[in-house]
Amino acid sequence: MVGAPAMIEPLLAAAAVALVITGATAALLLTNAVKRVAGIIVAGFGATLALAALGAPDGALVASVAIVFTQAVIGVVVIVRLQESYGAVEAPEIDSSDRNDEAREDEP
């Protein structure tokens, strides 16, 4: 039993790193804005788990959860505004609309 926490710590830390990598991949590579925000939340909770697994103080965990929550809220707001302005939440459609807007502006 004494060795159990010592075994759990590296397992939790590995799981935390895996969550951060998964979330980061989703947030950076997926084209759908909703899935990107979901990736941000996964990565954030991975980081929080890492803090917990590696023995960070309670205040650090609270701060981390607060950060993830705020990111999620702002992410939802940006998604709603994107849907209102572009009528889409897919990155290729949004980029295409921006390119068209820019070409129109650059015309003399």
Binding site: R36, A50, A56, A60, I67, G75
Partner: protein, 487 residues
Amino acid sequence: MSGALLDLVRMNAPLLMMVIPFGGAALMLLNGSARLAWFIACGAAVAASVVGIDFAARLLSGATPALAIVAPQIHVDGVGAFAGALIGLALVLAVAAIGASLKDAGVREAPVALALVLCGAGSWIGALMAGDLIALIVAVETGWLAAVGLVAVNAVRERAPLNGALRMLSIGSIGTALMLLGAAMIGRASGGLSLEALPLAHISMINLAGAGAALVVLGLAVKIGVAPLHAWAAATLGRGNAMVTFGVGVLGVLGAASVLCRFASYAITAPEIGAAISAALAGLGAVSVVVGSVQAVGARNLQRLAAYAGVSQVGCVLLSVALGSPAGFAAALIQLVGFAAAATAFYGGAAAGRVKSLAMLDGYGQRAPLASAAIATGALSLMGAPLTIGFLGRWRLVEAGVGAGWWWASVLVIVASLAGVFYGGRLIERMYFRRANAAYAGDGGVWRVALGPALIAAIVAIGIGFAPLVLLRAADVASGMLTGVAT
């Protein structure tokens, strides 16, 4: 009575530098008038700036200021005091310049946008005074999310900034997750999260601590927009209005770069992990100088060009910090001042005439001579032309690099300057040696409110190039207090 009040203010200067912008932001949100909000923002910015400059001047003149211990999370050092005062000064110029573009943000949104600019600046100053890693990360994230909010709020007349906001949120949040992961690793390896204790800590797991510090550096590099992590910069700054360019392109980049310098000053002086951090910073800096310069040469949009030139300039800052010596940190601080002056002059000159594409610059020297002078000065400083502050910073980097045997860093600085001659020269040629494009000939309405700060920044960029002694001395003293000051 007033003497006692002054002493009280001075004793709490580090805290007030953070609190005043937040107080101003709260006041702005209570009223719906854009103009009144702007006056409040100006007042808060000037107050924070005066407190910060007075504090830095006392500290860097060799005095040992008495400080009230109000919170253990506050820790003062040379880099923090120097950069905090610099951000305060940049905030004053930014808020003053923004006054001309309140309508661009929308009448209802302007107070919120101004409040976010102040919150961002207060947060970056907070990160420069943070005593432990978690406080630093929370402050950095507050500043970053304020910047994301600022970009999103300014998407009323132009929807493109929303795309930039999404990219900032995606990339920046991953940067934050990496910083938290890095902090957890450092805490586990060194037994604590205090910045002050890091250089002297007995690090039991060197690889874990080194990886953690590298992750924190990477997370901060994302917020600065260091290449190749700058995918958000072009989308955000390319078509943003003056609030976005000043709030994110000047204050955000300056704040994040200052915080990275400060964190590096603690991590790089820890003997077990210093070499790894130095290598990581040097790699990022070198890539940033090359990629930023190449992209700036190829840019067709003025604001994107300025953003890429800033990426190259920040690369030089990272190279200076990577040296790890007091001379390197002094060079980094001078380059931060140079970046703030050049970017303010550049963006201010562009905002004054609402110039976005390079084609709109044709004949700008005749239509708007003062705004053109500001842009030209910013470009000359960014390219490191002699008798500008840009030259001074790069010269100090070359000196420090050669002293440390880093000849390749000197070569990179020369490459950055040569690229600057291309893109800066192209701007100057368009402004002064071409006729105005017929389509834009009548579009030369220069807002004096926007132009004043740009001209002040341009004068500073040239003036310090002629009389650099005060800045050189301040940077040298600040870099001698890398890991804190006795109070």
